[in-house]
């Protein structure tokens, strides 16, 4: 913040319009953008840093107590936290597979066909994405309560597929927009059946879009708190466990697990970028 102030202070009283615009784009905007990007990653740096805070096994203190690898050495020392993380990974995997298939099919229909109900489908996807999570969670819980369905892993998976379908459909659809249908027609002209056309021509072409949709679904699922909180019953997931621990104190393992998940996610994303660059 002080950087901006000190740079702006000696500004000449009446700068020429052209040079003031240049200063704006050369100096003020980059410095500002850098500060905003720093603000965005600041909590991530804090998470990584506090994973190393030497404040004992019970709770990480706000105050910095020195460097320690305790959290890394005793990563799985909290059995219920480990179990919650396992639940999260299982739920994310299952719900991602289901949502990716269902969402991709919807995207295919929306991109290639004009059909009655297309606008309605768009509207439902829009509503699903922009509805407050709490409304999605509370309404689904109303359904389960009305039928006396016990909450647990199954209801969490149902909920996660529900909020992921629209995201997958939208992502895949965006990637499908530039898809050349002539390639399919060419395959059919060469007497390829619909199944062969799909598996040999369509699928390889839209695969990057499906992968992107699937990764997004996985990330949203493993991260979800609000909707899961409503439909979990007594089952714990990683975000639920962390939220529950806020009042009693966060053990160092939470920050370490968060750091490892972060590192893993960034690694996969970078690999994806590299793979796409190589293909192009």
């Amino acid at each position: 913040m002080s950087v901006v102030l000190s740079q702006e202070a000696p500004r000449r009283p009446a700068p020429a319009p052209a040079s003031s615009k240049r200063r704006w784009t050369r100096l003020v905007l980059p410095v500002y953008s850098g500060l905003v990007l720093f603000y965005l990653v600041l909590p991530i740096l804090v998470m990584i840093l506090y994973g190393f805070n030497a404040s004992g096994p019970k709770r990480v203190s706000f105050r910095w107590q020195g460097f320690s690898l305790f959290g890394y050495a005793h990563l799985f020392a909290k059995p219920d936290l480990t179990a919650a993380l396992k639940n999260s990974l299982f739920i994310a995997l299952v719900s991602t597979i289901i949502a990716t298939i269902l969402g991709t099919l919807i995207a295919l229909a929306l991109v290639r066909y004009r059909f009655a109900g297309r606008t309605a489908s768009d509207f439902v996807l829009f509503m699903n994405i922009s509805a407050p999570e709490i409304v999605l969670g509370a309404s689904l819980l109303s359904l389960f309560v009305s039928f006396g369905i016990p909450r647990g892993i199954l209801t969490i998976v149902i909920a996660h597929v529900m909020f992921n379908i629209a995201y997958v459909a939208v992502t895949v659809r965006a990637r499908l927009a530039g898809f050349d249908r002539h390639l399919e027609e060419a395959a059919q002209d060469l007497f390829a059946g619909p199944w062969v056309t799909f598996s040999r021509v369509t699928l390889p072409l839209i695969w990057p879009g499906i992968l992107a949709g699937g990764l997004l679904a996985f990330a949203l699922s493993i991260d979800d708190f609000v909707i899961t909180n409503f439909n979990a019953g007594t089952t714990q997931t990683f975000p639920l466990w962390v939220y529950g621990a806020v009042k009693v104190g966060i053990p160092p393992q939470v920050f370490v697990m968060g750091t490892l998940i972060f590192g893993f996610g960034v690694l996969i994303a970078l690999l994806n970028v590299v793979a796409q660059r190589r293909r192009a």
């Binding site: 990007l37 290639r112 407050p132 999605l136 509370a138 708190f225 409503f230």
Partner: protein
């Protein structure tokens, strides 16, 4: 031979073509129907019932509940909409120059900046909010250090105030705002934006057509948030989400909680309706 085959296959293909989109939409559509649309009606139904967890709930068409809960929780409603709107406005103001700069002046490192913008998505939402609690806490690395240097008075605190909750919400929605803004700005022809002759008209156009439509839907999720209020807030920053959560999951007052959620849903529907009316139904298609 080939012509014969094609003719034989034709009627079947035509029917198949007509059915194809419905068959493709059906599985996902059914899932959304059963677990997204129908539950909204069940929420409405639960909200009109009376009873308690032990004796069960029965339908009594208790419409008056809506008046009761609205009167009882009016401060939380007002606060939620105020926080949501302020946070969205702040996010827009903060995100727009950043998106503009990346889109038009990002240069060779554009991908890197976009990647930085995406980084928060790799950390759990709850942990990010928790990290803000650590940053903003009275004796944490930021304020604790400033206080020990006597730059800030000992009584200074941000945690458990409105400022903490609003900035927490604004932080969480920053990437969600900046990314679509960037995508839209990127699409706009630079020369048109920079043309000096009709600069004013274009800027207004850009605001009305691009920035405004992109920022409005951000208000809805912000209003329903309760994690920021719960982790960063205090007793006088309770939002409607906190009440819904408390009534549903701790007090088991299902009808009260369902009525509160339904009011939120109703406001959202009205919002979407106005949005579609003012900006045209196409804007929804484009947004999705």
């Amino acid at each position: 031979m080939a012509a014969g085959l094609q003719q034989l296959g034709k009627p079947k293909t035509r029917l198949g073509k007509r059915l194809a989109p419905y068959l493709l939409v059906m599985p996902g559509g059914l899932w959304l129907l059963v677990f997204f649309l129908i539950p909204i009606f069940f929420m409405l139904s639960v909200s009109l019932q009376t009873g308690n967890l032990e004796e069960g709930f029965t339908m009594t068409w208790h419409f008056h509940r809506y008046v009761e809960v609205f009167q009882q929780y009016r401060p939380q409603f007002v606060r939620s909409f105020a926080f949501g709107t302020i946070a969205t406005a702040i996010t827009l103001v903060v995100a727009y120059p950043l998106a503009y700069w990346i889109a038009f002046h990002g240069g060779r490192h554009k991908t890197t900046f976009l990647f930085l913008l995406l980084l928060p998505f790799f950390v759990s939402f709850v942990i990010r909010t928790l990290a803000w609690q650590f940053i903003l806490s009275d004796d944490g690395i930021l304020f604790g250090t400033l206080k020990s240097w006597h730059i800030l008075p000992q009584s200074f605190h941000v945690l458990a105030t409105r400022t903490a909750v609003i900035s927490g919400i604004a932080y969480n929605f920053l990437p969600f705002m900046a990314l679509p803004l960037y995508v839209s700005l990127e699409r706009i022809d630079r020369r048109v934006v920079e043309a000096a002759s009709d600069l004013y008209a274009n800027k207004k156009d850009v605001f009305l057509r691009v920035i405004f439509p992109l920022s409005i839907p951000g208000v809805f999720p912000a209003v329903g948030d309760y994690v920021n209020a719960s982790i960063l807030g205090g007793t006088n920053t309770t939002m409607i989400g906190n009440i819904i959560q408390l009534e549903f999951l701790q007090n088991f007052h299902y009808p009260v909680a369902a009525a509160l959620s339904f009011i939120l849903m109703g406001v959202l529907l009205i919002g979407i309706f106005i949005y579609a009316r003012v900006l045209g139904a196409r804007s929804i298609e484009e947004y999705v």
